[in-house]
């Protein structure tokens, strides 16, 4: 695993952290002052800061440092979280998200000077120490991490080769007296002596003056002190660093004339060292393996280092030992691998269907192994799909920020209600729903909600409401974006559609048809462009994006009371339950989710309407009959409705009765994209491979019903 891969994990964490912060902010806005809530925010920022440092994102690190400073003051109670302060904290979040995105994409970091100033001002407002802290340079110097860790090993080698202390003249004299706390908290003075030896130091004397009688010895106390001489070439910082964890008072370091005591003290030092080694080894609670005898002073061996080096030489494959198994209860999987799994399972479903058919042809369709296989395949498929499922939360958590920006841009006041954010849906859907959803939300605030004064004048609360919800509904996910604004001004929409040449001036349209005009290509152009929603993307693009996901978009609006857009999307794009039907020499799949009922009509239920229109009476409601054969130009299909089967389907534009020859079967099919393999065809949503290896087209019920619906409404109007 290289650093880049770890960095990717870091950015995923950032995303999760940012999402969690949004949640915490929502609670804080609602007046929640639970310490765990503000702690959660602090921890997220803190983690991002840590990673930013590790991966060398200095600007991000500097920014998070300042952010963290303020949050720390809030969480420890120094600052009270007033609404004004919360605004600063939440405002700083947006810049943080930009920082993270910039670091991830390698872009220029956002301009954060103003926000840093606000953070400093907020942190320094009440407390002098905080102000001093804030005035300090924001970023600690960052040490870039090299791509591999091998330099570490070479560094160890360098140390081992450092001078052996022959140039002791004018060298360092060090007194090391660990004292009462010598072994406190797991410390081990021996290790420090070893390290000094590695730096070229020699123990000149071991002072045993403090050593009490045996019965008076406290096992965790240090009674020995050592004098060590080190070569002059060793940097003072390097010597002091050895003792960084101890109380500074345990060492006295002086640079002085080294006494010419080298000759005999190498032997003395060895004995002293052995003494010192023996003492702690005897008194620590756990058995310590006998320490390796230190090498004679003139050529000190890097004793402390020897172990890791040797272990490193052990076979690499053994390194991640079973004991090192990951502790996490979740694992992160490359999406490509998951896609491959989904595809393979899809192929398995097809193969299983083929096998079933072959067995049936040989009068073996009833064997129990086959139904077991079917059952297992289905479960495998569902489990695989569940791996890809993600809560809508990942998308919804970005919405509060969008709303805040919109409030700033439009001067409107918005309350956001979110429901069903834990609703799970396929990752592809989660990923691709963001953009259309953002557009709908911008629309709701920009076009839907009125300015606060207008609202008040109309007897509404000054604060507009945008409701965002997600729920599972009969095998699909339904996402709703609703506002309590002015609703669609149908007169204006119609006038504009006429002006754009989308409809004829004398067209008579139902309210629903007028509402749906906003999805017409070319409708939202110049005149509708504002800073907020007019970003060159019209509602037609939104609808296309939704349709590309196998979804439908519907609109309900009441003038003066608001609008509601509902998106209905499949939970997964890879499989669907379908009814297999025959039309002429072709086989079709009709998605089961669209089917209301199927029936063989009698003459009485059918009424002729115009030269080629037929209506089916379904218990009093009239549904247009649609001949798939005519629609797609298929020969040899049944013409006579009473000899055929009618399948009543429900789509975006109401119901229609599809006329087919026979129903073959009902089963799950794996969707293969027609666009990817051939080209898009109106009325066909995709294709699948049947058990006998033939390709069947999947009917696009929405496209079909829109044809039927329009046909009928026009005919009805004509009649």
């Amino acid at each position: 695993m290289d650093l880049d891969a770890i960095q990717q994990i870091f950015f995923q964490e950032c995303e999760e952290g940012l999402a969690a912060m949004e949640g915490n902010f929502a609670q804080l806005r609602d007046g929640d002052r639970d310490s765990e809530t503000i702690n959660g925010v602090f921890r997220c920022v803190h983690s991002i800061k840590g990673g930013a440092g590790a991966f060398g994102h200095e600007r991000l690190q500097a920014y998070t440092h300042q952010y963290e400073t303020l949050l720390d003051l809030i969480r420890n109670g120094t600052l009270e979280l007033t609404p004004a302060l919360l605004d600063v904290v939440v405002g700083a979040f947006d810049v943080l998200a930009d920082h993270v995105a910039a670091a991830r994409d390698g872009d220029t970091p956002p301009a954060d000077a103003a926000m840093l100033e606000r953070l400093m001002a907020a942190a320094g407002g009440d407390t002098a120490p905080a102000a001093a802290k804030a005035a300090a340079p924001a970023a600690a110097p960052v040490v870039a991490i090299s791509d591999d860790f091998d330099d570490l090993m070479s560094m160890l080698g360098d140390v081992a080769q450092s001078e052996d202390g022959a140039d002791a003249a004018n060298g360092w004299r060090l007194r090391f007296a660990p004292g009462a706390k010598a072994f406190e908290h797991g410390a081990e003075p021996l290790l420090l002596l070893r390290e000094l030896t590695m730096l070229g130091g020699k123990v000149t004397t071991c002072d045993r003056a403090e050593l009490p009688t045996l019965e008076a010895i406290e096992p965790e106390c240090g009674y020995l002190a050592w004098d060590v001489s080190l070569p002059a070439s060793v940097a003072e910082d390097d010597i002091r660093a050895v003792f960084e964890f101890g109380d500074p008072s345990v060492i006295t370091l002086t640079r002085g004339d080294a006494e010419p005591a080298m000759a005999e003290d190498s032997v003395d030092a060895l004995f002293d060292l052995l003494d010192s080694v023996a003492a702690p080894a005897a008194i620590v609670e756990e058995p310590t393996p006998p320490p390796p005898a230190p090498a004679p002073a003139p050529a000190p061996a890097p004793v402390a280092v020897a172990e890791p080096v040797e272990e490193k030489a052990a076979p690499r494959s053994a390194a991640p030992s079973p004991a090192a198994a990951p502790a996490a209860q979740t694992i992160r999987v490359d999406l490509d691998k998951l896609d491959r799994l989904v595809n393979l399972v899809g192929e398995l479903v097809i193969t299983q269907a083929m096998l079933a058919q072959r067995l049936a042809e040989n009068q073996m369709g009833g064997i129990s192994e086959l139904s077991d296989l079917e059952h297992l395949t289905r479960e495998l498929q569902e489990s695989t799909m569940a791996i890809r499922a993600q809560p809508m939360k990942t998308v919804f958590s970005r919405v509060p920020r969008i709303i805040r920006e919109l409030e700033g841009e439009t001067g409107k006041r918005v309350r956001l209600d979110i429901e069903g954010e834990m609703t799970e849906v396929d990752k592809t859907v989660v990923e691709r729903i963001g953009e259309p959803l953002t557009h709908l939300i911008r629309n709701a605030v920009d076009h839907g909600l009125e300015m606060p004064d207008v609202r008040v004048a109309n007897g509404k609360s000054a604060e507009g409401v945008v409701r965002l919800s997600a729920a599972h509904q009969s095998g699909r996910i339904v996402i709703t974006v609703a506002d309590d604004g002015q609703g669609i001004n149908r007169a204006r929409v119609k006038a504009k559609a006429i002006e754009k040449g989308i409809i004829l001036p004398d067209a008579v349209l139902s309210e629903e048809e007028i509402d749906n005009l906003i999805f017409a290509p070319g409708f939202s152009t110049a005149a509708a462009i504002t800073n907020v929603s007019g970003r060159g993307v019209g509602m037609d693009v939104v609808r296309k994006n939704i349709q590309a996901l196998g979804g439908r978009i519907g609109i309900q609006s009441r003038e003066g009371f608001g609008s509601s857009f509902s998106l209905s999307l499949p939970l997964t794009l890879a499989v669907l339950d379908g009814m297999i039907v025959t039309v002429g020499d072709q086989t079709f799949v009709i998605p089961l989710s669209h089917i209301v009922e199927s029936l063989r009509p009698d003459e009485v239920a059918l009424s002729r309407l115009g030269p080629d229109g037929t209506l089916l009476d379904v218990r009093g409601a009239y549904v247009p009959v649609l001949r798939i054969a005519d629609y797609l130009g298929i020969d040899g299909a049944e013409r006579n409705a009473t000899d055929a089967v009618l399948i009543v389907v429900e789509g975006d534009h109401g119901q229609a009765a599809l006329l087919v020859d026979t129903i073959q079967d009902q089963r799950q099919v794996v969707v293969k994209s027609l666009e990817a393999n051939y080209q898009a065809i109106d009325g066909v949503a995709g294709a699948t491979i049947l058990g006998d290896g033939r390709v069947a087209l999947i009917a696009d019920v929405d496209a079909l019903t829109s044809r039927g619906g329009r046909f009928v409404s026009r005919s009805a109007l004509a009649a």
Binding site: A54, V143, H185, E310, P326
Partner: protein, 120 residues
Amino acid sequence: MAKTIMTVDDSPSMRMLLRVALTDLGYSVVEAEDGVHALEKLDGFQPDLLITDINMPRMDGFGLISEVRGQGRRSLPILVLTTESSDEKKQRARDAGATGWIVKPFHPEKLAAAIRRVLH
């Protein structure tokens, strides 16, 4: 036998960084996500060194250290991961019962040095 180091950090990327660095140094690594999780793993198991983050959900690093020390594991070396190298923070770590600290972001060299100074 490779010495075993337990790392405790709620951030997967930080755990991963430590794992890579420590494995390269020849150590075995056992990971935990927070103090509570670490205590579960420490039940009946003694690593040669414990490296823990401070800010974690459920039980933070200081809480973990005081539990571990309270269990009588007084000679287990413990390093805390800290983002600040101020004397105040260091004193706090020492008071809490840590043997030493590693200042994040850590250079592998610094990490090795810190371990060298505490790992028996």
